[in-house]
């Protein structure tokens, strides 16, 4: 069984010296003009998805990102063998080299805008349906407005954005911005000073920008 971490360009840069899951060494599998980074495991079942496995997978992807363009694969991507992996990746019909060029030297900044704690619709007097609906509308408007302000603050350096408006009790919206790695610190400042109470984490590998469609999205 092989475990796949990411799709990378076919550069000759050596693989990073980080171990794969269960300490297994990393190797490359060629997929057209790109490569998949994998580790091989004797057992037919995938390694346990323990916290160590999650962080180990992430460590591999981040180490790869320091020397190559990287499209992370979702945690848990396993195939019986190389042939099956290549077939599965080719079936996606994505232009991997073009996508890799698009994310080369880029990182993802994650944005969370917490919901304003106004008591929430659920804490209103029961039976006050009109108030409940008005609050929901107000929350949605506030989230959309926050997304617009973030987009404005990020406009000079953002190359793509994925925004999820999800006004709830805890979170108003989540967004991911793709920026040049050299702009990561600037992006963090822009996000945190946009006046919407946003919390920024990253820079992350470009998890949210692994398809042409997602790379083209520019506004909320």
């Amino acid at each position: 069984m092989i475990w796949a971490y990411a799709i990378v360009d076919a550069a000759r840069a050596p693989l990073p010296r980080v171990p794969g899951l269960d300490g297994a060494p990393l190797s490359l599998v060629h997929v057209g003009d790109a490569c998949a980074v994998v580790s091989r495991h004797d057992d037919a079942s995938p390694p346990e998805w323990s916290r160590e496995a999650l962080l180990g997978h992430e460590a591999v992807v981040e180490a790869l990102m320091s020397t190559r363009a990287v499209l992370p694969l979702r945690f848990g991507t396993t195939q019986p063998d190389e042939v099956a992996l290549v077939r599965a990746l080719e079936q996606e019909h994505r232009d991997w080299p073009a996508l890799l060029e698009r994310v080369r030297g880029r990182v993802e900044l994650a944005v969370t805008v917490p919901a304003v704690d106004d008591g929430g619709p659920e804490q209103q007097a029961p039976g006050d349906g009109r108030r409940y609906l008005l609050d929901k509308v107000a929350r949605h408007r506030a989230a959309v407005d926050a997304a617009r302000r973030l987009d404005q603050a990020m406009a000079p350096i953002s190359e793509a954005v994925n925004t999820r408006i999800q006004p709830g009790d805890d979170v108003a919206l989540k967004a991911a911005y793709l920026v040049r790695r050299t702009h990561a610190a600037d992006a963090r400042r822009r996000i945190e000073s946009a006046g919407v109470g946003a919390i920024c984490t990253g820079p992350w590998p470009p998890y949210s920008f692994t398809s042409a469609e997602r790379l083209e999205r520019m506004s909320a």
């Binding site: 991507t77 990746l89 079936q91 984490t201």
Partner: protein, 70 residues
């Protein structure tokens, strides 16, 4: 921290957010191909809980982007 340092208590919130951001990305984003294992929602909740203790380590926090400056 700069002069715009967050209020006391915000750092803990940052750690929680970084944890959620990490798991969101590992389990909810990235390239999906046929044959993936998928985790049940209850399993994902356990992953969040299991990672919670780990995030307090400095190295992990740094890797998750919690350091203020690059």
């Amino acid at each position: 921290m700069t002069s715009s340092a967050p209020r006391a208590g915000t750092l803990a919130a940052h750690e929680d957010v970084a944890l959620v951001d990490l798991v969101d990305r590992l389990l909810g984003e990235g390239v999906v191909i046929a044959g993936d294992i998928t985790l049940a929602v209850a399993d994902v909740d356990l992953v969040y809980v299991g990672l919670r203790a780990l995030i307090s380590s400095v190295a992990t926090a740094e890797r998750m982007g919690l350091s203020v400056e690059e």
